[in-house]
């Protein structure tokens, strides 16, 4: 249980570290990035053949290198999510009807791997990969506050963006608090304990955490009021779209159109 907390804080630290370095994508306006990356994901969802999907994945990897994200880290990060996807796709080569390319087993109990099934599995895994890499790249190269700011510009209601920015701030605190509570408990526990007792302890920890966060919430609210909070969080960063951002946006749109035409004009072989 402890490791999941450590993993979470490590991930956030990584996120912030890369978003502060001076790579290519870090210098692009967040609004343009959100727009173009959403377009990439949309294209990946409607793509059926392998070639456009591979193009999309390759492109995001090139972007990640240009943005000074270590290749190994980026690959591991995106591939980690794929393990689960690959598990889902695993039965596909066996259950899809089609022309068999390999057969296992003997008399009557034959399991055959079909080429149609293999294609389907490959297509599924590649599509999900092409969909998740842009999102991961977006968050790795964009600071949280500027992402929130650009969401605001996309007319996401203020209540959401305000709540999101305050929530994000307090997540670290509560992760720390929960981590300490669990660490303290585990160091007091000598032997493996019954399922019921573990559940009971978890529930009491959660209710304690709930009470503490309620009280902290009240204090934070009063403290913010005392400092002149009036229901709105103002940002001093001004975002401006310059020539570079425009070029990136146009490039993204052109890329998307090209991939769609690859897909629907059947230029690609597979």
């Amino acid at each position: 249980m402890l490791s999941s907390f450590l993993k979470a804080s490590k991930e956030i630290v990584y996120n912030e570290r890369f978003s502060l370095s001076n790579g290519f994508l870090q210098s692009i306006d967040p609004r343009v990035k959100v727009f173009s990356f959403t377009a990439f994901i949309l294209v990946a969802i409607v793509s059926k053949s392998i070639l456009p999907l591979i193009t999309l994945v390759t492109m995001t990897f090139i972007f990640s290198i240009a943005s000074k994200i270590p290749l190994r880290f980026f690959t591991l990060r995106t591939a980690f999510a794929l393990i689960f996807v690959a598990l889902i796709a695993l039965p596909l080569p066996f259950v899809t009807p089609g022309s068999p390319i390999a057969t296992i087993g003997n008399n009557g109990y034959l399991i055959s791997i079909t080429s149609e099934g293999l294609f389907k599995a490959l297509q599924f895994v590649l599509r999900v990969w092409a969909c998740i890499t842009p999102l991961i790249l977006l968050t790795l190269t964009t600071r949280f506050s500027s992402l929130i700011h650009s969401l605001e510009r996309f007319r996401v209601p203020r209540v959401f963006t305000n709540m999101m920015s305050v929530t994000y701030r307090f997540i670290f605190l509560f992760i720390d608090e929960a981590y300490r509570m669990i660490l303290a408990r585990e160091s007091r526990t000598v032997r493996g304990e019954s399922c019921l007792r573990a559940t009971k302890a978890l529930a009491s920890m959660m209710s304690t955490l709930f009470i503490r966060s309620y009280e902290r919430g009240e204090r934070v609210y009063l403290a913010m009021m005392a400092r002149g909070y009036e229901g709105n969080i103002r940002s001093i960063t001004r975002m401006s779209i310059n020539g570079r951002d425009m070029i990136f946006g146009f490039f993204a749109i052109a890329m998307c159109m090209m991939i769609i035409s690859l897909e629907y004009l059947h230029i690609g072989v597979v």
Partner: protein
């Protein structure tokens, strides 16, 4: 249960957005009615706490572990509309910063976990409070509510996946069975933990169960007099 991008068809994603957007609007109006704009930081700290709580795992049958969704306890303590908003924030942060879920599938995830996973537990809780009118009613309501909330959310997820004939390679029956059975066991854990949290809160700080609840008008007047 977080569905990543690439699993659902565009048409399904669009439909789920259309379903959930009106509820967001109602929920925001409800928030304005019950809480003032200024209480946003207060809601936000509670949301952050549930975010952290989602990382605590509980053991389920078969030696595996699952984590809380938090929807039921949010619905019972803050009301379903506030629960929907909190879950939406949690899902947004998870989608953007932890790679759980996606942008295009966000409407679907918000519907499954934010609407179904919050309203079903709330309604079950109200029902048992009405019928049994005592602490046992609360416990049973919280347990069954959390269990059914999880199962229904999973069934919806399975339905969305199964109906995505273009992107998802398995049929509706397989998707619903896989999701439903899996989340029945997760829901058992969630139900037990939720009921226990309600019990602990009743013993330690019963006033926290009497906070103003952000609920639809036709629901907000009933149910909690017995506390």
């Amino acid at each position: 249960m977080h569905i990543p991008d690439g699993f659902l068809d565009l048409s399904i994603c669009a439909m789920m957005y259309l379903l959930v957007i009106p509820l967001w609007i109602f929920a925001l109006r409800g928030m304005k009615r019950v809480l003032s704009d200024k209480q946003v930081p207060f809601m936000a700290t509670l949301t952050a706490m549930f975010f952290a709580a989602q990382m605590m795992n509980y053991p389920i049958i078969g030696g595996t572990t699952a984590h809380l969704l938090g929807g039921p306890i949010l619905a019972i303590t803050l009301g379903p509309y506030a629960g929907l908003i909190s879950m939406t924030i949690i899902l947004l942060i998870q989608a953007f910063f932890f790679g759980d879920g996606g942008v295009i599938t966000f409407g679907a995830n918000a519907w499954n976990m934010g609407v179904v996973g919050v309203f079903v537990p709330y309604l079950m809780f109200l029902l048992f409070m009405k019928v049994m009118k005592n602490r046992n009613g609360m416990m049973v309501g919280a347990f069954l509510g959390a269990l059914l909330g999880d199962v229904f959310a999973a069934i919806f997820a399975g339905l969305e996946l199964g109906l995505s004939v273009f992107t998802f390679p398995y049929s509706v029956q397989i998707a619903i069975t896989a999701m439903g059975v899996h989340h029945f066991f997760i829901g058992l854990g969630e139900g037990i933990v939720t009921a226990m949290i309600i019990l602990f809160l009743l013993r330690q700080r019963a006033d926290l169960l009497k906070l103003p609840r952000v609920a639809p008008l036709w629901l907000s007047s009933i149910g909690f007099e017995e506390l």
